[in-house]
Amino acid sequence: MFKLLEIKDVSRNFAGFTALDKVSLAIAAGEFFTLLGPSGCGKTTLLRLIAGFDQPDGGDILLDGKSIIATPPERRPLHTIFQNYALFPHMTVADNVAFPLRMVGCNKAEIERRVSAALKDVSLPDKAGHYPDALSGGQKQRIAIARALVNRPRLLLLDEPLSALDAKLREQMQLELIKLQKEIGITFVYVTHDQGEALALSHRIAVMNHGAIAQVDEPSRLYGFPRSRFVADFIGHCNLLAGKVMQLQGDRVLVELAGLGAVQVMMPPDVTVEVGSACTLTLRPEKINISSSLSQDEVQAHFKGVVHDMLYLGDVTVYKVELVNGMLVEALLANSSPGRARFFEVGDQVEVAWLSDAGHLVMD
């Protein structure tokens, strides 16, 4: 992997508050990389450090292997897409897009050629003469992207660029961003607090919390194999069942769930599991099965419960089932499944079950 951007032990403190605590990351050329986390986790601070609007208190930031800490933002070969687009209101769309080219002293013909190419890239070739206040939110967004990409930066930083758009448009822009990134091959570093957006867009995601990186992984691995309770909880919906490691059985672990009994779980990769230590079984709602009849399948963990709550969402129904120990477990059933016999009602006696490889073990 060729490291385009390397962040080495970067720290940033604001008056008594640690925004970033020795963060290290390496981002490859051509990657769509996302910094994901709740507000205040330090993702925007990190983006501002990469862009150069702020200076780290410790550590180094390398681009192509060279430190860019001392380079002012205007001379870093990277551009930022701001949350509210920050288009210049007194310039036409064409002048906005031409701005970075003018700053490096391109000649007129070159500017004209590249501006019209950039506008074509974002499918708005006929808006050149318009002023930004005549554009819709989605169009402004595309112009901001055209402006940031027109002189082909090494890196594009995107700071929650879709947060101001409505849900439908956001989805459309997500697809366009993926397509655009693939076409031009520029490395994207994307900041968002929206885990769905991060999963949909990214090649890799760094989940951040309290100024540190909780996990860096591909979306599917992040979702399927979270390394901590925080990541499991933050990415998608997840049932977190507290337990204790009882016994190691090869590639399986026997875990005692408080008040429920022992269940078999797959041995998590890259983690040392010790007998007697506290752990959490993370279970995605879609991996839990609800049925009315009792199964005696050996490979399944099964518990009795009562339907406590249900949410009909059209394509799926979410059930909250109260288990015998009083714990609430969320299960998700697709309404389209062919064998879908009937809906359960609140108060129904049901059995919840999951396969031994459905859950993922996280050490506390």
């Binding site: 205007e74 288009l87 701005f99």
Partner: protein, 294 residues
């Protein structure tokens, strides 16, 4: 909707009436007066008379002809406009950095800084001019300082009082807040995200100012310029007190016509030309202001 527009119209009546009674009608009276004869003891002669049993109008173009008989008045107009332009430019030059500094200072300091800008208004206009008379007098602090600096370079001492420089210094001093306040109001609204974006896209400090801050602030520059230019053009108190013969402006002559010569018709002619000049400049400024703002 109908009742709303009625209310809106009703609300515009008082200011409209105010402008009509105190501006439009007096201007028309003045325009009319510029075609009348001077009275026997000054002021205005009656504009109609009964002669040979019939009513005749006593109106004339003489006053307007007098304006062009010598070039003294036109030159005075040009000179006054020159003073006003120069004062406005100096106010922009001095007021812009100040307004920008206040607009970019921490929010909690801004009110105090603005208060300091308007602090001079707390004392009387004439008192402040008299203060400048003391400062600019041959033994005054400003004159002494300037002459001691000139002395170092072997230059002869100068007198500041009763000169065009004294008038300009005081005009700038008095009108600077009128430039700073609208400029501040404009600059304060600028989003720092635009400057961040410009910097991110490769603009250094100098280019950020000339490509972003300056064009976006043009409506403020224009508003401040109007607020400075118009009163300066009609200013007579400062040249009266500080200008001597060198610093006379057109308004001094107008005042002279009305007060000392009691030649109201000619005073009216000069006033009309001054008003027309001011309106022309404002219209031109508005045109450029709009173009520049975009």
């Amino acid at each position: 909707m109908i009742s709303k527009s009625w209310q809106q119209r009703l609300l515009t009546l008082p200011p409209l009436g105010y402008l009509l009674v105190l501006f439009a009608i007096p201007t028309l009276i003045m325009l009319f007066a510029s075609f009348r004869y001077t009275g026997e003891y000054g002021g205005l002669a009656p504009w109609y008379a009964y002669k040979d049993g019939g009513l005749t109008l006593e109106l004339t173009l003489e006053n307007w002809q007098r304006l062009f008989e010598t070039d003294i008045y036109l030159r005075l107009f040009v000179k006054s406009i020159g003073y006003a332009v120069f004062t406005t430019l100096l106010c922009i030059l001095l007021g812009y950095p100040l307004a920008l500094m206040i607009a970019r200072s921490p929010r909690k300091h801004r009110d105090l800084l603005l208060l300091l800008v308007i602090l001079p208004f707390w004392s009387n206009f004439l008192v402040r001019i008299y203060a400048w008379m003391i400062l600019l007098s041959p033994n005054g602090a400003v004159t002494q300082l300037i002459n001691s600096i000139r002395d170092v370079f072997g230059l002869a001492p100068v007198s500041l009082m009763y000169s065009a420089s004294a008038v300009i210094i005081c005009l700038v001093y008095v009108h600077l807040p009128f430039m700073v306040l609208p400029l501040y109001a404009n600059l304060e609204k600028h989003s720092s995200a635009l400057l961040d974006a410009a910097q991110d896209l490769g603009a250094n400090r100098w280019r950020r100012f000339w490509n972003i801050t300056w064009p976006l602030s043009l409506p403020g520059v224009y508003a401040g310029s109007i607020l400075v230019f118009i009163p300066v053009l009609g200013m007579f108190a400062i040249p009266d007190l500080l200008g001597g013969t060198d610093g006379v402006m057109i308004a001094n002559v107008i005042k002279q016509q009305f007060v000392e010569s009691r030649d109201w018709p000619f005073g009216s002619v000069l006033s009309m030309v001054l008003t027309a000049a001011a309106v022309l400049v404002v219209l031109l400024g508005a045109k450029f202001g709009r173009q520049g703002g975009r």
